[in-house]
Every structure is written in structure tokens, then in C-alpha cells.
Symmetry: C2
Subunit: 209 residues, 2 copies
């Protein structure tokens, strides 16, 4: 995504309402990228702000120019990632009319996203265990489940999925997906296709099929 030209008109603004130049936006993005990487690698608490700025070779003040606190910084990383994942999911199913096929496409695209953003796996999983961060995570997850629920309901109406609590079915799908992604993509570095096929088959047919 190319940055908009924005020559010298109304500039983008950060969370506190300050203006940000193009240069400033780049720094911001740099910090978030590096922060996500380090948080994922060593954990949120064990990673100091000092380490993050040192990796970029800048002073500590830079961090606090762009973010009000380490906590807010982490929340922004989480929100940005969730937004990006959702956008990808939506784009992947946009042209598909078959609800079951939409579920399958959603699984595939989510796995692909997690593959490309392996570092976000640990971050999500850690964030959900901390009271300070869990609400944001839960909200995002609920949105994802809501998407699946709509497809499932539609398919139940069409009589193509057995009549069970749609939310439970959706949650189960999310569970399969995230656990398989962790085990096979994150820990064992296998291919998205193989995992996606396995996940789709299990979600549709279960053990017996």
C-alpha cells in the first residue's frame, strides 16, 4: 500500500491528536513492526522499551513521542493486526455466494495470514491471558466468530448443516483453526495448503464423515 502523497495539506494525526509527517508515520510503523517482533520473540514483559528503540538505533524519547505508554503501544499492535486479518478474510470471501465455501475460504485465508504473521500468534495468545489486553482480543475474536456464525446460519437454513447452535459450531471452527495453525504452521513450519485441507475436512466431516 503506497503512502498517499499528502504534500502539505491537513496531515494525519496520532492518537494524542498531534500531527504526523510522512517521516513520523514511517517511524511509527517501524516501531510497531519491531515491537511486535520482539514481543513475540521474548514476551511482552521481558522486552523493555529500551530494547525496542535500541534495535532501531534511536533514543528512548522517540518511543514516547509516538506512543503514550508501553501498554498503549501493545494495544495498538493488537488492534492493527486484528484489523488487517479481518480485512484479508473479508476480501477472500467477497465474491463467494455459497456459505459453506465461504467458511472454507475464510479458514484458508486466515491460515495464510497467520503464516505471514507468525509473530502475531504468540502475541494474541499472550494478550488473551492478561486482563488489560483480553478485552480487545475477545472483541476481535467475537467479530470473527460472528462472521462465521452468519455463514453457518445461512447454511442451516438451506438445510446443508445440521441444526446445532451456530455459535458453538463457529467457535469450534475457530478452535480447530487456531490450534492447527499453532502446531503445524508456527511450530513445525508446514505448508498452508496441507493444514488448510486437513482443517477443512475435519470441520466439515469430523472424525466419522
Amino acid at each position: 500500500m503506497p503512502a498517499p502523497p499528502a504534500p502539505h495539506t491537513t496531515s494525519p494525526v496520532d492518537a494524542a491528536g498531534r500531527r504526523l509527517t510522512t517521516r513520523g508515520q514511517k517511524r511509527r510503523a517501524q516501531l510497531m513492526l519491531e515491537g511486535a517482533r520482539l514481543f513475540a520473540e521474548r514476551g511482552y514483559h521481558p522486552t523493555s522499551v529500551q530494547e525496542i528503540v535500541a534495535t532501531l538505533g534511536v533514543g528512548k524519547g522517540v518511543f514516547y513521542w509516538y506512543f503514550s505508554s508501553k501498554e498503549e503501544f501493545f494495544l495498538e499492535i493488537l488492534r492493527a493486526a486484528q484489523t488487517d486479518l479481518r480485512r484479508r478474510q473479508q476480501a477472500a470471501i467477497a465474491d463467494e455466494t455459497d456459505p459453506i465455501r465461504r467458511v472454507e475460504l475464510g479458514i484458508e485465508e486466515s491460515l495464510r495470514w497467520f503464516r505471514e504473521h507468525r509473530e502475531m500468534f504468540n502475541l494474541f495468545q499472550f494478550a488473551i491471558t492478561q486482563e488489560k489486553f483480553a478485552p480487545v482480543l475477545r472483541q476481535g475474536q467475537q467479530v470473527a466468530v460472528g462472521d462465521v456464525v452468519r455463514h453457518v446460519k445461512e447454511a442451516i437454513v438451506e438445510g446443508r448443516i445440521r441444526d446445532q447452535d451456530p455459535e458453538l459450531l463457529a467457535q469450534a471452527i475457530v478452535g480447530v483453526m487456531s490450534h492447527l495453525a499453532r502446531t503445524y504452521l508456527y511450530e513445525r513450519d508446514e505448508s498452508v495448503e496441507a493444514v488448510a485441507d486437513g482443517a477443512k475436512a475435519f470441520c466439515l466431516h469430523g472424525l466419522l464423515g
Copy 2:
């Protein structure tokens, strides 16, 4: 499990090889229980050793009499919980000869255990994101998956489960179970039976059935 009498013979020994009196064993257990509770509630890093001992109304030295470090302490909590969960699973399926039924019983009993040890949920999930603790967690999870794999293989041989990679099927089951446990037992406090029924149905029949 009643503590053995052990009047004044060879006494139980702690990790460092020191003897432990009955009183000592109680303190140890107290610390682990309270530690698990606090770690789960506030997180591992944000919970200080000081807080743990203060909650029990004892001095800091007590902690370091029974455990060599905060890290080792946490690992012991994890190991003890995993051992307990596994024992419960094994006991639950001991008398069952049907492999598919064994899977179902395992799901039920695991959910029951997580319901009784809600605090372990966050601990497990946090631990798996930290390089220091992940190996222990992964090993325990692999044991659990291995148990399921055996039942699945047996059922495949009998032609009762479709012929797919047994480990992937087992991992998918674990994924469904842990995510449903988190969502419905941990976050929403629903009944084990309802969740277990949903989980079993999904694992056996998937969406279509």
C-alpha cells in the same frame, strides 16, 4: 489423596534434596496453590514473589526455602497440573474398550478438569508463549495428543474413522476442546455437560454430519 503417615522414618525430599516434614509439604502445596491463583489472575511477570508470600502472611524466605527460583516454581506448578490432568484422563477411560467412546470420555473428563482448575487455563496459555516454559507445555500436550492418536488409529483400523492423518485429527480435537473450554467454561461459566455434548458432536460429525 491422604498424606502418608511417615512418623519419623525416611522423609520425602524436595527438589534440592532436602528433607521435608509434613508441615513443610503443606507449605509447599500452599505456595503452589496460591501462586497458581495469582499467576492466573494477574499474570506471571506482574505477580511478584513478595505478593505470593504476603497473601499467605509469611516472609519471603519461606518461598526460597521451598523453591530455588520464581521460574522453577512456575515450572513445578505447570508440571503438577499436567500430571494431574493426565491421571484424571487415564482414570476416566480405563475401563472403556471402544476407542471412539474413549475419545469422548477423554473430552468430557478434560473439560471437567478444566472446569475445576479454571486458573490453569491462563497459565497454560501464557506458558506456551514463553520460550522458557513452552518446552514443558509442549511435551505435556504431545503426550495428550499421543493418547488420542492411539484411539484414533485403533478406530481407523476398525474402519470406523475415515483414513486421515491420525495426528492431525487428534490435534484438531485438542483444538476444539481447548477453545470451547476457554470460551464457554472459562469466560462464560456454562455447564460442562452442554459444552461436552457440543464438542463431541462436532468432533465426530463436523458441520455436515
